[in-house]
Symmetry: C2
Subunit: 333 residues, 2 copies
DNA sequence: CTGTTAGCGCGTTCAT
DNA sequence: ATGAACGCGCTAACAG
């Protein structure tokens, strides 16, 4: 591999001059610049990014820690992050936290030790205090999907309570009264927020929240399956089910169909997240959008602006959910 | 940040000794080692990986280029790669190729310029020749999902032809004769291989391949939707549909259900890939497994063995598909 | 077993 | 505008 030294010899200039044309932050006369450029081209010179990092104390890498790399969310998010960052020649290093406090912290340490210039975190097991302390460290962080008052300028999040409200409000406006709710696990903030929204909608319509009609799921398909099986054993009238995730809604619907219960004729459904898959199956799932890809992009822009001092980007941190009406709900009989 | 120098001073030894205990490849007396360890601990010393990389000419990073970061495949694959590599303290840098030749090449260049020690590639737009040439370069590469004879020891792949055969053979064994086939795009090798397997199965059962019953899809849900809508306009008897991907199968099934066609009673279906989602909906999709996560893991192990000279791993490069029977097929009426 | 010394490839003062 | 020299933090001979 050709180095800056080879280029300097061929161009008949000093090392420093070559470095200058590379970073073109200092004035270099046009003709020496051209000589250097020619030399670089004829040698097929590529800068050694490792050496650049060491000398400049900037690795041009940003670490991304998500709870899981698979599933319907993180893919789109990673896509946006990678795309937004690569155009600025930054690279992304990934790590998975697996929703486990120890692993999430290990992931953070790992990424920091890797010399990342910034961290984009989608974590759920670590405490607010940990994150606040972390944000005072040397490596800047942005949080996706989490709102912490003390460091709100580093948070990119969705108004989950509002989304939960919208889902249930929609069912109520259709005329439903007997509404079951399948929530996410209560240790997750977004699950709690969505549930709160659900309860607020019920209250506003003077419908009592029946704890028996609430099942704590896990956001995954089989959580929805378990939930629906349980709800069916209750022998209570249920005309609509609001699910805190599309995955749970899909699982729950499959249980109904297998029991000969028609959707939406017998029971209406609405999910949350607006993941792609359920829009292609039958019935097409109504849902509340969770613009996870937008949030990924925004987090990347935050890094570009705050860490790499890119002037032209502007960031927006709070996202509003949106209702998508398709074919999985109708008025009660 | 404390450096190796600070540690050496505090421990009263030389720089080299500190370096030795870090890499513990040379013998160091137990008590000096302990002194160094204590000094490191009390300083909270963390090695600077950038400097290590520069000095050792090894970045401990491996680049992963996939066509897309989202969708049901690459998530599980990335998970395995990340997990396998992280335990060995290697980090993964990601890039997306978007199934486009230019972008795939740019991605490769990007990762190489980032000093990756090795590349794991899941590419489909670049030519075999390009990859063969690339494999002769300085950065070792492994290919996932692609078989190239000249560099087969660098390929981790699935026997797609066999899988295609199995899917159709299964339908034939159920008694189906009027079998439609929804393929992937013909410019992709795996799509062609799966189709070949389909044709071989038909031939073995003396069933003629009817080109009219073959629709070239795109592996995605809407490809299956388009395909099924087209097949239905044919007014030909069709009792079974073999799809080259679960996503297309799901799209196709949704079209049937909307037309009041029952699955599997009226038309049987089988997909390919064994992605999670369709196992949670109704009807549960029969399919051929595509162990993409296993392949990801194997690629990571290949890198560990061939690049980082890890002795204990053994790699296997050829994967066999497997038939999964669930609820989307039955004998014809 | 341990210390000395030279790089790794590049950025960045200082001079000039 | 350009060059010389030093330093980033660490590894790897080479001595001893």
């Amino acid at each position: 591999m050709a180095t800056i030294y080879d280029v300097s010899v061929l161009a008949g200039v000093s090392l420093a001059t070559v470095s200058r044309v590379m970073n073109n932050n200092t004035k270099v006369s046009d003709k020496t610049k051209q000589k250097v450029l020619d030399a670089m081209a004829s040698l097929g010179y590529k800068p050694n990014t490792i050496a650049q990092s060491l000398a400049s104390n900037c690795s041009n890498s940003v670490g991304v820690l998500v709870s899981q790399l698979d599933g319907p969310f993180y893919g789109p998010m990673m896509t946006q992050i990678e795309t937004s960052l690569r155009v600025e020649n930054k690279h992304v290093i990934i790590a998975a936290g697996h929703s486990d406090e120890v692993q999430e912290k290990e992931g953070v340490d790992f990424l920091i030790s890797r010399g990342c210039d910034a961290l984009i975190l989608d974590v759920e097991a670590v405490s607010d205090e940990y994150l606040i302390t972390l944000s005072n460290g040397d490596t800047p962080i942005v949080l996706i999907n989490r709102y912490i008052e003390a460091i709100k300028e580093r948070c990119v999040y969705l108004e989950n309570e509002q989304g939960g409200y919208m889902a249930t409000d929609y069912m109520l406006s259709l005329g439903h009264k007997n509404i079951a709710y399948i929530s996410g696990p209560m240790y997750k903030l977004d699950a709690r927020d969505r549930l709160r929204g659900h309860q607020r909608a019920l209250a506003e319509h003077n419908v009592l929240f029946d704890p028996e009609l609430w099942f704590e799921g896990n956001f995954r398909e089989f959580g929805g399956i378990d939930a629906m099986q349980h709800l069916l054993t209750l022998n209570k009238p249920i005309s609509a089910v609001v699910c805190a995730s599309d995955q749970m809604a899909s699982g729950a619907i499959s249980v109904c169909l297998e029991h000969g219960i028609r959707v939406p004729e017998d029971i209406s459904f609405i999910g949350y997240d607006n993941i792609p898959f359920p829009t292609y199956i039958s019935p097409k799932l109504n849902t509340i959008s969770n613009p996870i890809h937008e949030m990924g992009k925004m987090a990347a822009l935050w890094v570009l602006k705050e860490v790499y001092k890119d002037k032209k980007v502007s960031v927006e941190s709070c996202f509003s959910p949106q209702l998508f009406i398709r074919g999985s709900a109708c008025p009660p009989k």
